[in-house]
């Protein structure tokens, strides 16, 4: 009987989700998402969410501002610049792939109609390397963080403006898949992303303030004191999934690409301020 009830509940919830997914456009989702935070933290300016948990934690913010005086990510920016300028074995450089220069983070992620997939910046960098006969970089740790630090630094101030083009239903599907991922419970501990970073944003988990979802994507890559180095957004996704005891997905595989697409869209209108520094 109880099982039947659970099944029914699940069915009702699933139907409810599908119905609501069909009923809202990305634009409506965006307004609802950002309004949620306006109501939850009426004194926080929307633009300030680029500072993550520090937008709502005055004590943590003081410590963080002290750290930012001598940013721990600075050496990574310099290394990244050298990578950007150093020619590949074939004599070409990244500039040949990205003729508009290193201030390009604001163009990602975007829907790539030809490939029929979400194109992320790390993916585009590796495509460039492969096209020039170089080995691709790993997506979570290592040199990719240096070049991403440099590109993010050069892109500071660009405004998040992810587009879900209406002329390709596959783009909307990718967005919807990312959204579904965000709101789906997973792992032994049964949390969705939204449980912590939407429903409970600002609450204290043991000693840590749960950061708001809004602005999550603006400051990556991030120097995390816990890591002792700079790490990528997909490394963080992996960590979150492990924390809820779920099997992480492949970095820049379809699930995390679509998640990045949805999550970055939710921060549309917010300036980029990477690389960041976090506890």
């Amino acid at each position: 009987m109880k099982q039947l009830f659970r099944k029914l509940t699940l069915l009702v919830m699933t139907c409810g989700f599908i119905a609501s997914a069909q009923a809202t456009t990305p634009e409506e989702d965006l307004a609802a998402f950002q309004n949620f935070f306006k109501k939850r933290f009426p004194n926080v300016e929307t633009q300030d969410y680029i500072n993550g948990a520090y937008s709502i934690d005055p004590v943590g913010r003081e410590n963080w501002e002290a750290i930012e005086e001598f940013p721990p990510y600075e050496p990574f920016i310099d290394e990244g610049q050298a990578m950007w300028e150093t020619p590949f074995a074939n004599g070409k450089t990244y500039k040949d792939c990205f003729p508009d220069g290193p201030a390009l983070a604001g163009k990602y992620p975007h829907w790539d109609k030809d490939k029929g997939m979400v194109m992320t910046l790390p993916l585009a960098l590796n495509n460039c390397r492969k096209a020039n006969g170089e080995k691709p970089m790993k997506y979570k740790k290592g040199p990719i963080n240096s070049i991403l630090s440099y590109l993010s630094y050069e892109s500071r101030g660009q405004v998040t403006n992810v587009v879900v083009p209406s002329d390709d239903p596959k783009a909307l599907q990718a967005y919807e898949d990312g959204k579904k991922f965000y709101y789906t419970r997973r792992g032994q501990l049964n949390f969705s992303c939204a449980h912590c970073h939407l429903q409970n944003a600002g609450m204290i988990l043991r000693t840590e303030i749960l950061s708001p979802a809004l602005g999550h994507t603006t400051h990556f890559p991030v120097y995390r004191s816990k890591w002792g180095t700079v790490g990528t957004l997909h490394r963080r996704f992996t960590g979150c999934n492990k924390q809820v005891r779920a099997k992480p997905f492949k970095a820049h595989g379809e699930e995390y690409r679509n998640l990045e697409y949805f999550l970055t869209y939710m921060s549309n209108g917010l300036p980029l301020n990477g690389p960041g520094a976090r506890k």
Partner: protein
């Protein structure tokens, strides 16, 4: 004789008064041990980790996501109701962020029972 008495007390599971001494039955002793062990499991970050979200009186650095664990017997009519809540909090509230400690096997059956015994005392 002493062995037999212990067995008898064990079987009946009640307080016996023998030769003017109060003997506490083994079942009750086990209950107290369960509560003490349950507390350890509840506080263990890798097991119950209740303090991540709940305040428990006197416990160090609790979270504030969920209600304080206090006056449990007035909040839950029976131990069974509390058991169900810890087993799977989404039965009562589908939006609950509390992990389903029993349903998902986060705690072993024995650890789960001990945690219930402990929380029921709060």
């Amino acid at each position: 004789m002493i062995g037999n008495t212990k067995k008898w007390i064990g079987k009946v599971g009640m307080i016996g008064v023998i030769a003017g001494q109060v003997l506490v039955s083994p079942t009750l002793l086990a209950g107290d041990a369960d509560v003490a062990e349950g507390k350890k499991i509840a506080f263990d970050r890798k097991k119950g980790n209740c303090l991540a979200c709940h305040n428990i009186s006197g416990a160090p650095s609790p979270g504030n996501i969920a209600p304080a664990l206090i006056a449990m017997k007035s909040r839950y009519p029976t131990k069974e109701a509390l058991t169900e809540q810890i087993w799977d909090a989404t039965i009562k509230n589908p939006e609950s962020s509390m992990p389903p400690f029993g349903k998902h096997g986060i705690l072993s059956e024995s650890d789960f029972k001990k945690v219930v015994e402990y929380v029921w005392t709060l």
